[in-house]
Symmetry: C2
Subunit: 404 residues, 2 copies
């Protein structure tokens, strides 16, 4: 599937690679990163790289599930004598005999000899005398040793995404650090002599770089760590140096990837390593390029047009980041299935990425071409027109992937 | 709806407040926080507090949508003379006459006089001679001034959650900072003499605090900022001091909220401010308390049992955090509608929070009571049994809210 390098500058692309083939290539060549160790405060949403067996029973001692009184079953219902109390971490120190009860709090250790707990609401107290109004079967309201987690149980397997409660149970079993897939470091290189840094005002023929802030937000959303953001001029040597030096697992290059005279990134990438893909059968983002450096770093050449950049990110770069990070590479988007508001024409063999707004229960394509970021800003999500589809007629049910 | 304080310690709750009433109270009394100013790198996922009008046209100059040649329409198809080039931020300096063409890159300024752009793929070049193979109507492949964003357009309204592309367009129009709702600062106070800090191993009758790490992850998920996490003993004075001093918009107290002798938090809260709710008609998490301090800080008393804590968070605390932060307080969870695997009994008037696993397309309640965090760890999500329901029979279609 690798395409030998052909300089397309000012001659145009040759045959474009189908989107499906690009996805197959990426799925084969991109694998989860090595692992790292993290502490509890950093575990949420991370992908486990190890199997976790419970090293202890939870609870390690029988404890009360209720605020009430620890009693003998044979005494209930009936009247018993309160001889002390059991508080969390302050157990009642001796065995209780028939006719005796111990005041107990939720979570406190069950005194030796006690067979059950009667909730405070089902008792009446007068001094040290306690009247239990209900029968208390053996084991009632007692949390047994290992009832929550039994020592030796496999709690989690590699690949599991840790949710808040999962981090909680790791704390409960005494785990303080665990091994997870490392978060991908992603470098962003924005090329373009016309670009001003975000935060400045557009002036004359200079425009403000909007892709870097958009990409940084997307990378973070997908669990990546934006490493460096560099704006560099459209010069082969500068691009070469920046690619060679970027300390990252993935380098996203924005701009300079097409067929213009100033589009140097594909040639530089081919010289430094491998340009595996350049020119994809899709609209927008056809000029997208994908390659690999000899040390394994992945390079994705995203078009400079903001919508093309977003499209190439959604279709390819986001998936690569999630896969590097050990996550599913499927889209994290919610989706909705609604009828299309009007006809959409495409070309067989090409995938189209439509920005749509869901209005009155229908998906309407928003105004604006690939240079119009407003077409994505005014959209609720996107619809893909598959390669085999030439026409999506109005009323056709389509899946809208909602922008997150 | 405010309940006058009644000391329920070791006597049990009185009538419990319906979940729906608690939600009404919270919705009325919790309002979005004041605003703050943030820079572009912090805008993603924030809630706008201002209306954003575009101060400029994007683009501010007519530019090319393609790599190709700027031409006169009347010359196409036909042969023209290449007289120079227009690169981004390096426009061709003079007007082009009929019969002339200028090589142009995507995004470069359209030279004066040019009427359209012919893509490089539709041309043949021989030295300075260019053969254009297709007609080029006026305006073809030219991005007009203001085509993406017209100066003065209202781009966003207050309350809008900024997505990555929205941050991009703000950069493009020259916005460097914007006003958003402040992220709620949330303090977590964990009470319990039996608790060891997360990261330690459980020992003897001491257990490890798992709620603080779980709550910190939940708070972050919902856009809050975990401020301080404090573990404090079950002493009224310590709780009073911690409540009084917590620098936060919301204080979550874990543990010590029920009817045991060591449950001081409700009384302390009633003394310092207002205990608006204590005892809710739900299972688990019935002992949940909610109140307000005189300076407006919100206090939520969450049960110490980990599942009860999670339940009270999901039903109330998460909603409060999202509402304080200007977000919708609806659940951020994906959901699935599937049949219930077996009968579930409840009590009319009470809301039940069931942890369920979705297996073979059915929702099966997981094993374990409110002290068993494993019941939430082994679950894919939760199902609510509404207050009016006494029995959910096997096969009943239920909505499973998937844990995120």
């Amino acid at each position: 599937m690798t395409t030998p390098f052909r300089d397309v500058r000012m001659t145009g692309f040759g045959p474009r690679i189908p989107v499906a083939d690009v996805l197959t290539l990426l799925h084969q060549r991109v694998q989860p990163l090595p692992t790292e160790s993290v502490t509890l405060d950093q575990m949420s949403n991370r992908i486990l790289a190890e199997r976790v067996l419970a090293p202890v029973n939870v609870p390690a001692f029988a404890k009360s599930a209720m605020d009430g009184f620890a009693v003998h079953s044979a005494d209930c219902p009936g009247t018993v004598h309160i001889i002390g109390e059991s508080l969390p971490a302050q157990p009642f120190p001796r065995r209780i005999a028939p006719g005796e009860a111990v005041r107990i709090m939720t979570g406190a250790p069950i005194p030796a000899g006690a067979e059950g707990v009667v909730p405070v609401e089902q008792t009446e107290r007068s001094g040290d005398q306690l009247t239990v109004r209900v029968p208390i079967p053996i084991g009632k309201h007692i949390i047994r040793v290992g009832e929550d987690v039994t020592q030796g149980t496999a709690l989690f397997s590699p690949g599991w995404r840790l949710r808040p409660q999962d981090v909680g149970i790791l704390a409960a079993i005494g785990v303080g650090t665990t091994t997870v897939i490392r978060r991908p470091r992603v470098a962003v290189l924005v090329t373009g002599n016309e670009l001003l840094p975000p935060g400045e005002k557009p002036e004359g023929f200079h425009i403000v770089d909007s892709n870097s802030v958009m990409l940084a937000a997307l990378i973070t959303r997908d669990g990546g760590r934006p490493a460096t953001i560099q704006r560099i001029p459209d010069q082969p040597e500068t691009i070469r140096t920046a690619l060679a030096q970027a300390e990252a697992d993935l380098i996203l290059v924005s701009g300079g990837t097409s067929v213009g005279t100033e589009d140097h990134a594909p040639r530089v990438l081919a010289e430094l390593g491998e340009l595996a893909v350049h020119g994809i059968a899709m609209r927008p983002a056809a000029p997208t390029g994908i390659g690999f450096l000899p040390d394994g770093r992945i390079v994705m050449l995203l078009p400079g047009n903001p919508v093309s950049c977003l499209c190439a990110y959604d279709l390819f770069a986001g998936r690569v980041i999630r896969r590097l990070g050990g996550q599913s590479w499927e889209w994290p988007f919610r989706s909705q299935v609604v009828p299309l508001a009007s006809d959409v024409r495409s070309v067989v063999g090409r995938v189209d990425y439509l920005r749509v707004k869901v209005e009155s229960g229908q998906a309407a394509v928003t105004a604006g071409g690939p240079s119009s970021l407003s077409s994505a800003v005014s959209a609720d999500g996107f619809v893909l027109v598959d390669a085999h589809q030439e026409l999506l007629p109005a009323g056709e049910m389509v899946t809208v992937y909602l922008y997150a």
